[in-house]
Symmetry: C2
Subunit: 383 residues, 2 copies
């Protein structure tokens, strides 16, 4: 129905193998065939999270998993540090406040990562902080946050470390157990390259200790129901799951593990470097601060005098390439190119070729071919 090249930061291109797996006939979600698939899938999920704890698949989008993370741990009056440097950081804060948490915001300028020393000082300043929430890869700003360093700091405090890896897991390094992450969540439709509609979450012992002691006001996303089923039989979910998306996740995670997590992360890093080099070779300016730039998508400042409608509209309507726009106050000022999931040299070649054609057409000056040349050079460097 649509042969547009999908270069937005999720949903991303889904391999044919995954689409085919998804289209298998439906099976009984309480039967042994599905149970086997589910157990295999959640085991692969834990492998990708790099945790020894079980993982749970949720039939719902990434936001459902964010709510699951916060709603099961935060209660009225709990102090929560929310690191906010973009739209998804804000969403974690909104969910925290919806559940009655008292938000201590660490405001980070959009385009920058948080300074771990600031996190440390805020933790020192407040006792009895129940949790800290953080977006590993803030896709609204194309920034990656230093979760490893923050994890080390968090080790000295009792607060739960809640990390959203929706747009980083399987594309950048996430070591849940090594980093001391207590609650980690992700989505299906980014670096894992499955269709949207499913999310995953895992909890450490400290998180379960909190969860088991309290009640969450919601029902569908109450993890105690999941745990109850899981303890009886790990092949069961409390409510009818998305059977087809479980098939898809199973296949997508198999592909991730066939490639190997390290290889896949390295491939994402190369795609990111190539994209940054290509953009800069065209004289474009990157949005995120150097050193804080995401490995799964790149934010680029809109050149002066060119509108979002002109640039992204031409890319989409004339060249069938769909790139991301800016979000909230970055609307019109930034565009975003994803290099997540299976996106590699071929897709970036198409994208930068068409971006060059579009920019020339809009009167932006640069040496024709320079962007693609930079792509080539970056990829050659890693051969």
């Amino acid at each position: 129905m649509d042969d547009t090249l999908l270069m937005i930061p999720g949903p991303t291109i889904v391999p044919k193998r995954v689409l085919d797996a998804m289209a298998q006939p439906i099976v009984n979600h309480r039967g042994p065939a599905f149970g086997e698939i589910l157990e295999e899938t959640t085991a692969m999920m834990s492998e990708v999270f790099q945790t020894n704890n079980p993982s749970y698949l949720l039939t719902g989008s990434g936001t459902a998993a964010m709510e699951t993370a916060v709603g099961n741990t935060i209660q009225k009056g709990d102090k929560v540090i929310n690191v906010v440097g973009g739209k998804f950081g804000q969403r974690f804060q909104q969910i925290t406040e919806k559940f009655g948490g008292e938000s201590i915001e660490i405001t980070v300028p959009w385009g920058q990562a948080v300074d771990p020393e600031i996190v440390k000082s805020v933790l020192e300043e407040h006792d009895d902080v129940k949790a800290l929430t953080m977006i590993h890869n803030e896709s609204s700003t194309a920034v990656v946050q230093p979760i490893k360093e923050i994890g080390k700091i968090m080790n000295d405090y009792d607060s739960l470390f809640i990390v959203d890896t929706v747009s980083s897991l399987a594309g950048d390094t996430v070591e849940v157990d090594n980093y001391g992450i207590d609650v980690c969540l992700s989505g299906s439709q980014k670096c894992i390259a499955a269709p949207p509609g499913m999310s995953a979450i895992t909890f450490g012992d400290d998180a379960w200790n909190v969860i088991n002691k309290q009640e969450t006001p919601n029902y569908y996303l109450d993890m105690k129901s999941h745990l109850k089923y899981f303890k009886k039989d790990p092949s069961q979910t409390p409510y009818t799951p998305s059977v087809s998306l479980t098939f898809a996740m199973n296949e997508a995670l198999s592909i991730v593990l066939e490639e190997g997590l390290d290889n896949r992360v390295k491939r994402h890093h190369i795609g990111a470097e190539a994209t940054r080099n290509a953009a800069e070779a065209l004289g474009l300016e990157l949005f995120a601060r150097e050193g804080d730039r995401s490995n799964t998508l790149t934010g680029i400042k809109m050149p002066e005098g060119i509108t979002d409608q002109q640039l992204r509209g031409t890319m989409r309507n004339k060249y069938n390439v769909d790139i991301g726009g800016g979000q909230d106050h970055l609307k019109g000022n930034v565009f975003r190119i994803a290099h997540m999931g299976i996106i590699g040299l071929p897709e970036l070649a198409i994208t930068f070729t068409c971006l060059e054609m579009t920019l020339k057409e809009l009167g932006f000056e640069f040496e024709r071919g320079a962007g693609v040349a930079a792509l080539e050079e970056t990829y050659i460097k890693y051969q």
Copy 2:
């Protein structure tokens, strides 16, 4: 991966056309191609609900829609009448209580429908009842509830009428506007015959008036977020939706409307009558009370001396036919055959042929062929 004939009450068999539609490449959920599909799908959804109000697709299972219905309307201390005659009626009550509602339970014996006069008397007895919840088709007991009659009664009261039609919509008559239903929800994986993982909900003005005046404690299922997006642009959802399941729902609802709602409901009624006649011709006893029996699935008492493992195990392992067991205290005492979605004469012929073979093997006495003969006779009657 599994060629078992799926005769359980959901997820049900999904037509190849729907599986193929689901396997289409992913598109941008904020782009015009998806927007068109979403608007078309929700419009068809409203047509199937028989309402002039908009419908909303939720990326979540039927339970997510049940929580959406209750969580957006019921607040701490609100009086709610819960009609409870099976597992799903209980779930509505649990969700009501989770959201702080004060449940007034109308207990209905499992296997029976509620008497509308009792509903009337309970409404008379209590003022300021905020809402009444009811499962149209209680799949745990294979009973259909008189929502039309209850709707007429509810007309005289201010309470919201909240109806779950997860296992009836598109298989039995549901006229949301005519029946005066204020909140109606359904699922993808039953009579609509799409894969599980998506649900739908619609609200009348009285429901919106309540919703807009209050806050719900949850986030992902907060309808005010959906409404905000919808008002700006009906082709947008607040969070990344399940794109593939939207494709699937679009195709499944197209099939429903090509067949015609009335034809489809009539076909379900014939399947139900044929199943009941076939079961009784074998000397089996139906579980639900006469007159209260579901048109989308049939509950049959387990013959004495035969265990669930023997009957359903043989059906599944020897004949590759998966039928439903009993739920909760009906486990082992009842088995359930679905005739929902695309299930018709061919699937029932296989099922009853294999059921006859299984029952004979287990020593149950009946005239061989009598079940299938009753199926034939019923279908011939309606030719």
